[in-house]
Amino acid sequence: MALVRTLAVIPHLVRMFVRTKLEYPGALVLSWVSQAVSYGSMYTAIALIVARFGTLGGWSWSEIALLLSFHLLAYSTGASFSFTQFRVMEDLVRQGTMDALLVKPISTWTYLVFSGFNIGYAGHVALAIGLMGWALTQVEVTWSFPLALYFIATLVSGAMVVCALMTMIGATAMVFVRSRHLYSIFFGFWELARYPITIFPLPIQVLLLTAVPLGFISTVPVSVILGKPVPMLGDFAGLACVLAGPAMAGLAMLHWRWCLRNYQGAGG
């Protein structure tokens, strides 16, 4: 009953948020352009290094480009459901706005996610798809229908990992009030995830596959697709990429519930 109600409300929530954003169309377009330019400049810097040295960790520029675009697409898809929404979570808790969300008869997570479904990531997505389109024509991959399906499945799974981690960090604010600082750890590992995993020392590789599983949003699936070996996981890597998203989503759900039960409000 509550679930049906929740699902039915989603399109209305998204429409409200889009209309809010369209109140300031200039700022929206400017943010799309500025963010795409910023990623473009980062990728240019990486391209300069690869151009000078030939390869990075045994990956050619077109392979790196596929990795970067996969990273950006999985990230921006997952983040459009989560980042800006959960980044403000500690403000929602501190100002008591969270209380107002909790007295609605639909899932609080759904309300938060879709009432802030961030169309601001359109610039990211456009850049990622453009770069990916080019990279896919350059890399040596023999495409088949199952592989194409697998490619999409890993993208979705990667986006789920992003969304799950963002949710978990945000939910933490319900108990500890402050949690935004944890995003700097997230983005530290997020930065690592856009390079071939093999260039890092072993402890970092382990972290990228376990505690902060951002390896699964880019470097692991792209390695599998390009037929490059994945450390530690070996043959299991292919399956792990598809499972990572749902597994993290389940974990995030448990964490969310635990935080909700231990919610303290603004205190007093």
Partner: protein, 334 residues
């Protein structure tokens, strides 16, 4: 009539990290993990019947909001049991939410950049209000609260009073059985306060909506709520009707005698002198059954008495007296 809300022996304890003072303390707190326990609500019990209007009153930090948050399912009680509409609110938060309305005075539930009507419309979808019922309610509330001329304006352009009326209207669009209001009149001007109070009293009277509101403002209670629950320091101090509170404290009527010329000091057994401005003197009548006649009889006719006024105690007076009977909290009360 069976209770719509039952609270028995409820307590809520918060954990807060300790902050040490000064620069050295700040550096040390980078490493420490000390917590203090704050007991926001302690052993509170009461029951509320359908159709009642109850004012939940107490000084800042008395645990008023915490109680509201437990009744609405936001917070889980540390101890005790709580039942709202026959359910444990936290375990059935969403089902509970569909049948109650909640207004938080200081935080808006309206969409800042969009017209009021859009927030209402979203509310209709969230609460699955049938279209015809929604239209009826909206028409009724718009008229009652005088919202017609700003329903299509973005929320960011509204005055605080207009916004609060819109918040209250929204909380009633789905015909809630209980309406919770946390400080609904805070920050409003006199006219807006008056409109809100009249409206809430009317909704309670005509629609039978149970109302529970927390407030600092005693006039809210006087005009809306026949019943008063007073808390301080997390504990229940008083639960009953306002006249009963007055009676329990002694009526404390105030008598003002004005003389043609300063008669000098006057001491009476029936009335206690509180302020002496020479020609005007104020007395308190401590005993419930003392009448003006008793006082005037004792005073006798030897004075140049020009005017006599008897004032019923204002609610502020009643409550101040109540808090003063608890000396350690007197400074904070009201």
């Amino acid at each position: 009539m069976s209770a719509i809300i039952e609270v028995s022996g409820v307590a809520k304890t918060f954990r807060q990290p300790k902050r040490l003072p000064g620069l050295g303390g700040a550096i040390r707190s980078l490493f420490s993990r000390d917590y203090t326990e704050v007991r926001a609500v302690q052993d509170v019990s009461f029951a509320i019947a359908p159709g009642e209007a109850v004012g939940y009153l107490g000084p800042n930090g008395a645990g008023k909001s915490t109680m509201i948050k437990m009744m609405t399912g936001i917070l889980v009680p540390t101890a005790g049991s709580l039942s709202v509409l026959g359910r444990e609110p936290h375990a059935h938060r969403m089902t509970n939410a569909a049948e109650i309305g909640v207004v938080f005075g200081q935080r808006s539930q309206l969409w800042w950049d969009l017209p009021v009507r859009d927030s209402f419309d979203l509310h209709r979808h969230i609460y699955e209000v049938p279209e015809a019922r929604f239209a009826d309610n909206l028409a009724f509330l718009t008229t009652m609260l005088g919202m017609a001329d700003y329903l299509d304006r973005p929320v960011r352009q509204l005055s605080l009073g207009q916004r609060m009326r819109a918040e209250i209207a929204m909380a009633l669009l789905h015909d809630p059985k209980i309406l919770f209001l946390d400080e609904p009149t805070i920050g409003l001007d006199v006219v807006a306060k008056d409109a809100v109070r009249k409206f809430l009293a009317q909704i309670n009277r005509e629609r039978g909506t149970t109302i529970i509101l927390t407030t600092h403002d005693l006039q809210d209670i006087e005009e809306i709520c026949p019943r008063l629950i007073m808390v301080d320091d997390g504990k229940l101090l008083f639960d009953g009707e306002l006249p009963r509170l007055r009676a329990a404290l002694g009526s404390r009527r105030r008598l003002r005698l004005e003389f043609g010329s300063d008669p000098g000091p006057i001491t009476l057994t029936t009335a206690r002198l509180v302020t002496d401005d020479g020609a005007a003197k104020h007395f308190l009548l401590d005993a419930e059954d003392t009448s003006i006649l008793d006082v005037l009889t004792e005073l006798g006719s030897g004075y140049d008495l020009k005017d006599v006024t008897l004032e019923e105690p204002a609610i502020e007076e009643v409550i101040r007296t109540f808090y003063q009977s608890k000396p350690q909290r007197a400074a904070e009360a009201l």
